[in-house]
């Protein structure tokens, strides 16, 4: 940590300070220093750039850029801030992509949403937003959404025209005598989900892939600024339906930090419990999708069978099976009726009785190994460079898990171990999912036991302890929070203004964004058969890809 501070102190900084346990927070005065600072930081071991998050301060006429650097090995992190002028002509900065490849899409996103120009970026095109926003910066505070929405028909026509133009032109450059072609893999493809990969291929061999994302763009980060602090949870949880609870936990933690509220032990244990239930339900889907993508639906069906029992518990607790809205700033939304644990017990028993045959038939499946053992290999070096997280990082042997690195809720009291695989292939990522599934169920068992014991001894009151009051108006401030989401690290950067009733800005750093960036790298030189396999093994959810 000290070495990071030393580096920063050698430059012109407004402040350099410690933030939480594993962060250094600093602000650079001059944007000219950025490149040299970044180079030094990389030499120092901060090899991953987690995300780039601009905040638009309309009144101060400032575009503040936040860089989040991480070192996955030594768990040192840096939050670097920088002020830029707001005017679109001068709102530019050197791109960090040549030094940190993981910055690539994040800078493109900042460019698309805020109109920040990144100089020397290798591929600065619009991303996520649809063609009717071309030339506009929808997340700037002075963007007139109502005026934009008024021309709905024209907007739709623009999108259609752009698509037709692309289809007419995308093969013009190809050699007419060759067998090269451009395939649209998605957005209405049986295995793609709402994403489109422009696959440049020669027969069955892939030459390159250019993902086109944004088909489920809901502008969540903007939507949240239109809601109050509690109402925002329903937007946050729609990051991805498969694991909705951990994303709410991240948001709630950021609000609590600004409001300076400490939640009760019962609430933090409930967050662990609910979060792991959500993780289990997500991993079940991920395991099933992996085999679905190889044309085998049995595992997905079996998993659905068990997953229903876990959703039963969520339903009895919150009234909803998928979008539970059950974690809010101050704790968890509902008190707990101890009878609800009976359903959780049923789910655990169902899991224990059925997981053995899943392992025997699918995890040890020889045909699966034949397919997946050599493809989609990511080295530990690439994990660092491209800022990958979650099961993808751990499958390559990188020990990163926010639950252990920066414990939140009650994870500090749990004795967790990193689960890792060595080779980083598609098969390893599949096995990671399986092993983490078992780990999550173990955590559920421990958390359940802990709550039951404490309730029995009277230390926790399940009907009253679930919530601490959080004021409706928050002071000016900002906070970041990280959670280990089912797909990897989610980082939220929350900014509030004086006497705020709504968030001013919430940046959600979602793991699938980085993972999708890897598709081109992983699929070059492979065949068409490997697209669904590798795509499925990266555990991508289009919800958090587009936000």
């Amino acid at each position: 940590m000290q070495s990071i501070k030393d580096i920063l102190n050698s430059f012109d900084c407004e402040f350099v300070e410690d933030y939480k346990k594993v962060w250094v927070k600093a602000k650079l005065n001059s944007k000219d220093d950025l490149l040299s600072v970044a180079k030094k930081l990389k030499e120092n071991g901060l090899r991953s750039l987690s995300t780039v998050s601009p905040t638009d301060f309309l009144e101060d006429n400032i575009m503040e850029i936040n860089y989040f650097f991480e070192d996955l090995d030594t768990k040192r992190n840096l939050w670097l801030k920088l002020d830029l002028p707001r005017e679109s002509e001068t709102c530019n900065i050197e791109s960090l992509t040549p030094i940190f490849p993981s910055a690539n899409w994040h800078e493109r996103e900042a460019y698309s949403m805020f109109g920040v120009d990144f100089l020397n970026h290798p591929d600065l095109r619009d991303i996520i937003k649809s063609e009717d926003f071309t030339g506009k910066s929808p997340f700037r505070k002075d963007f007139d959404w109502e005026a934009h929405e008024k021309d709905n028909l024209t907007n739709v026509q623009t999108i259609v025209d752009a698509f037709k133009k692309e289809q007419a032109e995308n093969e013009v450059d190809l050699d007419t005598d060759s067998s090269e072609t451009i395939l649209n893999w998605g957005p209405t493809h049986p295995a793609s989900g709402p994403i489109r990969l422009r696959v440049h291929c020669d027969g069955e061999d892939i030459i390159g892939i250019d993902p086109d994302i944004g088909y489920v763009w809901r502008a969540l980060e903007h939507l949240i600024t239109k809601k109050d602090f509690i109402g925002a949870i329903v937007s946050v949880e729609r990051l991805c339906f498969m694991d909705n609870i951990n994303s709410m936990t991240a948001y709630a933690m950021a609000v609590e930090e600004i409001a300076d509220v400490k939640i009760t032990p019962f609430a933090s244990w409930m967050r662990v419990l609910l979060g792991e239930v959500a993780r289990v339900s997500s991993h079940f889907m991920g395991l099933g999708m992996f085999f679905n993508n190889m044309g085998l639906h049995t595992l997905a069906m079996w998993n659905m069978d068990t997953r229903e029992f876990f959703l039963d518990f969520l339903e009895s607790y919150s009234g909803a099976r998928i979008a539970t809205a059950s974690v809010e700033p101050g704790g968890v939304r509902y008190g707990l009726d101890m009878a609800m644990f009976n359903e959780l017990q049923l789910a655990i028993e169902k899991f224990d009785s059925s997981i053995g045959e899943v392992e025997a038939i699918f995890v040890k499946n020889p045909t699966m190994k034949l397919r997946a053992v050599d493809v989609g290999v990511l080295s530990a070096q690439e994990i660092h460079e491209f800022g990958l997280s979650g099961i993808v990082a751990r499958a390559s042997g990188v020990k990163t898990d926010i639950r252990i690195d920066e414990p939140y809720a009650a994870y500090a009291e749990l004795d967790l171990d990193y689960i890792i695989q060595k080779d980083g292939s598609a098969k390893d990522r599949f096995e990671m999912l399986f092993h983490e599934l078992k780990q999550s169920v173990n955590i559920i068992k421990k958390a359940k036991k802990k709550i039951e014991e404490n309730v029995a001894s009277g230390e926790m009151n399940p009907t009253k302890d679930h919530m601490v009051k959080v004021p409706k108006k928050l002071p000016k401030g900002e906070a970041i929070s990280r959670v280990e989401w089912a797909r990897g690290e989610v980082l939220m950067h929350l900014v509030t203004q004086e006497k705020a009733k709504t968030p001013y800005r919430l940046k959600i750093r979602a793991p699938s964004f980085n993972h999708t960036m890897m598709l081109d790298h992983l699929l070059q030189g492979q065949t068409l058969s490997d697209i669904p396999l590798i795509f499925g093994s990266l555990y991508i959810c289009q919800g958090d890809l587009d936000r």
Binding site: T181, L183, H189, P190, A191, G203, E204, F291, N292, N293, M294, G295, L296, H297, T298, M301, W302, D305, I361, N365, T367, M368, L370, R371, T527, L528, S529, D530, I531, P532
Partner: protein, 318 residues
Amino acid sequence: MMQTITQAVVFPGLLYALIWAVGLFWFFRKFMATLHKRVGPKFNGIAGSYQTLFDFSKLLTKESITPDGVNPYLFSIMPPLALIIAMLPSAFIPWSDGFIVVGSDYGLLALVVLIGIEPFLLFLTGFGSNNKYSFLGGVRILTQSISMETSFFLAALSPGLLFGTMNLTSIVESSTWFSFLILLPGFILYFIALLGLLEQPPFNIPDAEQEIVYGFYTEYSGTNYFLLKIAEFAEFMAVFAGATTLFLGAYKGLLFDSYFFFFIKMILIAMFMMTLRAATPRITMAQMLRFSWKYMVPITLINLAWVLLAKSLFFMGA
């Protein structure tokens, strides 16, 4: 004349193929559902048995769309042609004792050729669809059929070699428990090649929905899709019936001989195929090619040598 029409339209012709397709489709669904821990079709008819009927009649009445830019003749002639070719092998099969539509001395050859020609028709459907995915599917089906049919033919010929005849009725009549044991390796090879020919897992590469959007099926809808589906199930029947005739003694039963045993044997093969389908993911084109040319073809050749050896050891004296 009347008899020929009955045979063409009722048994073992169109109506039989239709009933078989509907029945097998329903059975596949129910059987697969059990393996998946699901219920399967449930509400219409006994155990959801009408559901498939409704699905097929829905497909029949749906508009059959011919996309822009395709050759409409090639696009629309292929599905009926595929169905007819897929139904033809039935004529050469001895369905029960003494019942055979075309009793030919070259029945085995006719069976193998008619089964082997089907993938080329499906290739043409993909070729005529003017769709990149369909075309890729067509190319895949061609590659796969060329590789798999070699071993399929060689495996199918082993009974003919053993009994010294290509007449299917004589093959069935000469088959015994002992000859079944001799032909067992041939049967296993035939079954593996059959999976490749019928595009069943792990060889469902040509119509891989996750990779190339069902390949040659992509552009087909309505009646044409219905015809292709029926053709697929008629093809199932032809290949199962071929396996039963060549290796399992066709209609020969435990106490009495009847079509009933023929049917049971076909369903057993179908069930085995479905169980494999429920537990095996798809392999890639390259892996299939390697498997076929590196292992399957040499092993089928060795199998032929084994059959010849067995013949000279056990059958020459008789």
